[in-house]
Symmetry: C3
Subunit: 142 residues, 3 copies
């Protein structure tokens, strides 16, 4: 029979397009549940965040991803958003729009189906340290 | 017990990267249902659309988002797509590819889990006014 | 009553931002199932892939999509990722980050709800031919 449970992960970030590997935390929630087959809906709460399944590798994580987003929506630019609120995170909203904040990942035998080099990555695009929450909702057969 | 209902939202747009805040309409469907905990799958019907959770704020909505997409895939450029069909919306398809047309948002206590500044945004990338439909499918516990 | 089945599609690609129309294969799985209403979660296994619902039209498929990604994350550039592993697919990871690897599509009367010009497209961003797998998980009422 199909059932559903809603969990969440909370953590701190430094912002500025920091990538956080949350794969283990999501798999741990699954390990402590009794679900065998189904899917996990991940949802990043906040409009300056993103979820992706890029490889968590130092070159990408510390350089390439940030440099790509810099080309598309640079930090420090005078966005209209910044003029409305007097803040400076217009770039973060734009990067979030392109990246997306929800992700659905299937699992079988209580294990997330991911490629060998595929991790679940939370990206904090904001321009300052933040406390973040990702909803982890499991739907499936026990 | 888990149940499922399929609803939809219909509205008109002006196209040209118009952003439409559909948060209230989705929450209203949830309010009129008996679902307490679960998720809502949103799917934008059409290949020149996008769904996002950007903040619905005038600076972003009327300027910054359109300017970012203009850098990536400008309107008015001579795309191969335009030569195939004799139309002019190649840029709209490209913008849609990057943005994505499905979104899954969890809810608890009959309320969508969204950040304070996080709205559900439909983007119409097409180059002319359109009638649009977004599927709103609820899955969860009553 | 709600039930769930996990299937998969396997195929070969040439890489280099090749677009593959997998709509028929997904609909076929649905045709052979007994599900009437629900949704299909698609998940591309691998971190150099993407899923989209762009129109499968020659101009977009053979030219425009690749040209857009070339502007954002060109092949052949000296990414930090390439220095870590001695490989050359940094661009593929970046393109995947923007595009996303999961997609949820609702269906009714055993038929995927898609626009007239909207197909389900797998994109292989890697720089060499690959064998690929897409998970097709059906959740719904029989």
């Amino acid at each position: 029979m199909i059932n559903l449970e809603t969990h969440s992960i909370e953590f701190s970030t430094k912002g500025n397009t920091q990538l956080v590997d949350i794969t283990k935390k999501v798999q741990d929630i699954l390990n402590h549940s009794e679900f065998k087959e189904g899917n996990v809906t991940l949802f990043a709460v906040g409009s300056t965040t993103g979820l992706s399944t890029v490889e968590y590798e130092p070159g990408l994580v510390h350089h390439d991803v940030a440099e790509m987003y810099h080309k598309i929506a640079p930090y420090g630019f005078s966005y209209h958003h910044n003029q409305t609120w007097g803040d400076d995170n217009g770039a973060a909203h734009l990067r979030s729009t392109l990246t997306g904040s929800s992700l659905v990942i299937p699992f079988q035998h209580q294990k997330l189906i991911l490629g060998t080099w595929q991790q679940i990555i939370f990206i904090d695009f904001d321009t300052r340290p933040r406390s973040r929450k990702v909803i982890v909702q499991i739907l499936g057969k026990k």
